[in-house]
């Protein structure tokens, strides 16, 4: 197996194949940075064109786009508080406050270095540990995946913000949105009002763009007389190579977030956004000064960006070995493989080692390239965008999201839906309802529901199936630990102060 890895290397290093990765990374950063365009969309647009290409060229571009977009999403998240991709939502928590404090350049540098590290770890895991990790994936049946979703939901607690009631209403709204569409078990239509367009549920990008990109874009339009953009336009950066040694102190976060990203990657159905939320939460819990988080803590950017890139190649482990994609992007990539006659499964590694292992190398190169291409692009080109007059910037963003949302399925229905969400987002913003719980509610709500119902069907309606397997028991223990630990420590503290007072 490792011999195959070496054998695959020369083909990957050929000029055409290497150029494909470089082009992919640049395209990916741009696509990720533009709100409304996502890696999933870029790769699905690319797939028909790859029909006549050499497989490694096509796959190299896809690997580049995937890695590039996961970092690119952080650029508008940091500079404008508009996450470019769903996975960059958690990056905006601390990235945007940093930009407001004039440390936006440093935030982007932390983001690009962390993204590259996450991507490198993920690629190495894919290269070296794919078969054993596929066995781990098989341990997760519907019961276990249900508990993973519940574990993710327990992360909502910290996203609720100051006003718990408003946070819960936001989360409930997200879960409600996840109910729209054909019931995954029986196919019964829920809240579709006879629209075929709603049968497959609401695409996360439509919701994300509506809630996150439209209200701030409208806000930019309102700043008509504000042409003084000198201050925000400057990112105050030093060269990325000089900045890197100072980042070494984040190594614990890098390790932790890489592990979380890889783990979420190999689970079927979970995605980069869940990885980013979870690892942001874990990094904050481990931090010595959790009260600084959300106010411009670089470690928050590092946590989120490391894990959303660590999710990339890892998501291909179940995709290549079992045919079950770990993320929406991996699902589209499977299509890219299929179009070249590459059927996922154990035979793929035996029959086409040159392509499969070459693809893995390309993931590694794409991650390394991020530092060079992303570092230069982020600090130089994209920051210039902020020098544009604000109303112009707002208008550009609105035009982009219209194009992006239309091109998901090529229909206006999604654009109208996005405008509806934009209206909701505008009022949520004004009324101070937090947005992240909506996103998490939408992602995890459907996930939890489907798997709970599958598990109960398997168990013949007996709820005890939920705690039957050892994996499920471990997950339940972890959830209890996460939920009860803060309560316990608060109780301890209260007792201490009580004693001190007495």
């Amino acid at each position: 197996m490792y011999g195959n890895l070496i054998d695959a290397l020369p083909a990957v290093l050929s000029l055409g194949n290497l150029a494909a990765v470089v082009i992919g990374v640049i395209a990916g950063i741009c696509v990720g940075a533009l709100p409304g365009l996502s890696a999933t969309m870029a790769i699905s647009v690319l797939i028909p064109f790859t029909f006549g290409m050499d497989p490694l060229v096509a796959l190299g571009m896809m690997a580049g786009i995937y890695n590039g977009a996961m970092y690119g999403g952080s650029i508008p998240a940091v500079l404008l508080r508009i996450p470019g991709t769903p996975a960059a939502v958690a990056t905006s928590f601390d990235g945007y406050p940093m930009a407001q404090q004039g440390r936006g350049g440093y935030a982007l540098q932390v983001a690009v270095v962390s993204s590259a590290i996450g991507g490198i770890v993920s690629a190495l895991v894919l290269m070296l540990l794919a078969p054993p990790l596929a066995k781990v994936t098989l341990l997760f049946g519907p019961t276990e995946i249900f508990w993973v979703a519940v574990f993710g939901m327990s992360a909502i607690v910290f996203l609720l913000g100051g006003d718990v009631l408003k946070g819960l209403i936001s989360a409930a709204f997200g879960v409600f949105v996840s109910l729209v569409g054909a019931d995954t078990i029986t196919g019964a239509e829920r809240y579709t009002f006879g629209h075929l367009e709603l049968l497959d549920g609401i695409n996360i990008v439509v919701l994300l763009v509506g809630l996150y990109a439209l209200p701030p874009a409208i806000g930019l339009l309102e700043e008509v007389r504000d042409f003084d953009t000198q201050n925000t336009g400057r990112l105050n950066t030093i060269s990325i190579w000089k900045a890197m040694p100072g980042m070494l102190k984040y190594w614990k976060t890098w390790v932790r977030s890489s592990v979380i990203g890889v783990f979420v990657g190999i689970l079927p159905g979970a995605g980069g956004s869940m990885a980013a939320f979870l690892s942001y939460n874990e990094a904050r819990r481990a931090s010595k000064n959790p009260e600084e988080w959300g106010k411009g803590e670089p470690e928050g950017v590092a946590a989120s960006e490391t894990s959303n890139n660590a999710d990339t190649a890892a998501a291909l482990i179940p995709a290549l070995t079992l045919g079950i994609p770990g993320t929406a992007v991996a699902a589209v990539m499977l299509g890219g493989l299929l179009i070249h006659g590459l059927q996922p499964g154990p035979m793929l590694f035996r029959d086409n080692p040159g392509i499969v292992f070459g693809f893995m190398w390309q993931f590694l190169f794409a991650a390394v390239l991020l530092i060079f291409l992303g570092g230069a692009l982020a600090t130089n080109s994209f920051a210039q965008v902020l020098r544009l007059p604000r109303p112009l910037l707002g208008a550009i963003i609105i035009a982009l999201v219209f194009i992006g949302v239309y091109s998901i399925n090529g229909r206006m229905f999604d654009v109208y839906l996005m405008l509806g969400f934009g209206l909701i987002g505008y009022f949520m913003d004004k009324l101070k309802f937090p947005l992240p719980p909506v996103v998490l509610g939408l992602i995890l709500g459907g996930f939890a529901e489907q798997n709970l119902r599958l598990a109960l069907r398997i168990g013949g309606g007996d709820w005890s199936i939920l705690a039957a397997s050892p994996t499920a028991k471990i997950l339940i223990a972890m959830i209890l630990l996460v939920v009860l630990a803060p309560l316990f420590s608060r109780w301890l503290r209260a007792r201490k102060t009580h004693r001190a007072n007495a």
Partner: protein
């Protein structure tokens, strides 16, 4: 008078000329091939594989362009084909039994009479699989386990109202036992749940099992004859169970296609099917081929609709 004669003659000439050009010249512009699924799916790969062969055999340097209209498990695309002009410039992919089952379990803006049936190309028979380490490694053991307690056997499959579901209903009738359906929304997740031992058995298609032969027990295949993709899997008929079922993928046009256009298209599909390069390309993408052309395809569709109706009436799934 002379003027009138000339005018009439001219009109005849023009109309006659037009009729004969239509006859001779189809296709004279781009043909759209509507695929009801996203790029990269099994149906999409089939459409993209066949497009260059249709271009070749229809002649006139025509281009056949694949247009993806994903959504509602193919229904949006099929509806668009049914509502297009029947001029031969809009074709579409067609999946059975799904396309007909949706006319029963959902509101659909089309029915069996909305189409000109061109060619069914893929016939992917169902197979029964169990985990490698399972005790149930033969049909007899499966039937025994299913009869021991109603619903004791859990069955992973991709969705309700699809070919795998209809197959299970047939199995249930033939073996006189009740099974518990676990629909995973997709064959790959169902197969993985099976490999992880989370369910008793699974119903998938033979194309989905070929790459996983070492990881699964395959109890049988629901075809008349053994599949060339997996010669060693015995048919259910050989084992004494009258079970034939599968997923079908083909091509349709809107109803009311002019006869000459229809016969040109049918000829092009026949020639494509007979092309060894096309067969090789289909094999490479893991698609078991079996041609049903024109009237034959129409009969196949009617048969599938009958089956769906029977199951919908006796065991409605929603």
């Amino acid at each position: 008078m002379r003027l009138k004669t000339i005018a009439i003659a001219a009109a005849f000439l023009i109309s006659g000329g037009m009729a004969s050009t239509a006859l001779a010249d189809y296709p004279e512009k781009r043909i759209d091939m509507i695929v009801g699924f996203a790029a990269g799916g099994g149906t999409d790969v089939m459409a993209r594989t066949i497009a260059p062969y249709l271009e070749k055999y229809l002649g006139n340097d025509v281009s056949v362009v694949v247009k993806n209209m994903p959504g509602a498990s193919g229904q949006i695309g099929v509806t668009a084909v049914a509502e297009a002009d029947p001029d031969g410039y809009t074709l579409g992919t067609y999946n059975l039994p799904g396309a007909m089952a949706r006319t029963l379990d959902r509101h659909a803006d089309y029915n069996a009479d909305s189409f000109t049936y061109l060619a069914n190309i893929v016939n992917d028979p169902n197979v029964i699989v169990t985990p490698k380490n399972s005790d149930i490694d033969s049909m007899d053991k499966l039937v025994e386990a299913a009869k021991a307690r109603a619903g004791a056997v859990t069955v992973a499959m991709s969705s309700l109202g699809g070919d795998d579901h209809f197959f299970l209903q047939k199995l249930s009738d033939v073996t006189d036992a009740d099974y518990t359906v676990v629909p995973f929304s997709g064959s790959a997740p169902a197969r993985s749940a099976l490999m992880g031992g989370h369910v008793t058995m699974g119903i998938i298609n033979v194309s989905e099992v070929v790459a996983f032969r070492d990881e699964l027990n395959v109890l049988g295949i629901a075809s008349e004859k053994r599949s060339p993709m997996a010669e060693d899997i015995p048919t259910f008929k050989e084992q004494g169970f009258d079970l034939v079922n599968g997923a079908l993928r083909g091509f349709v046009a809107p109803a009311g296609l002019p006869d000459d256009v229809e016969s040109k298209l049918l000829a092009a599909f026949q020639k494509t099917y007979d092309d060894p390069d096309f067969q090789k390309a289909m094999q490479r993408s893991g698609n078991p081929t079996e041609l049903a052309l024109g009237e034959q395809f129409k009969a196949l569709n009617a048969e599938q609709l009958e089956l769906a109706k029977r199951i919908w009436e006796t065991h409605p799934w929603k």
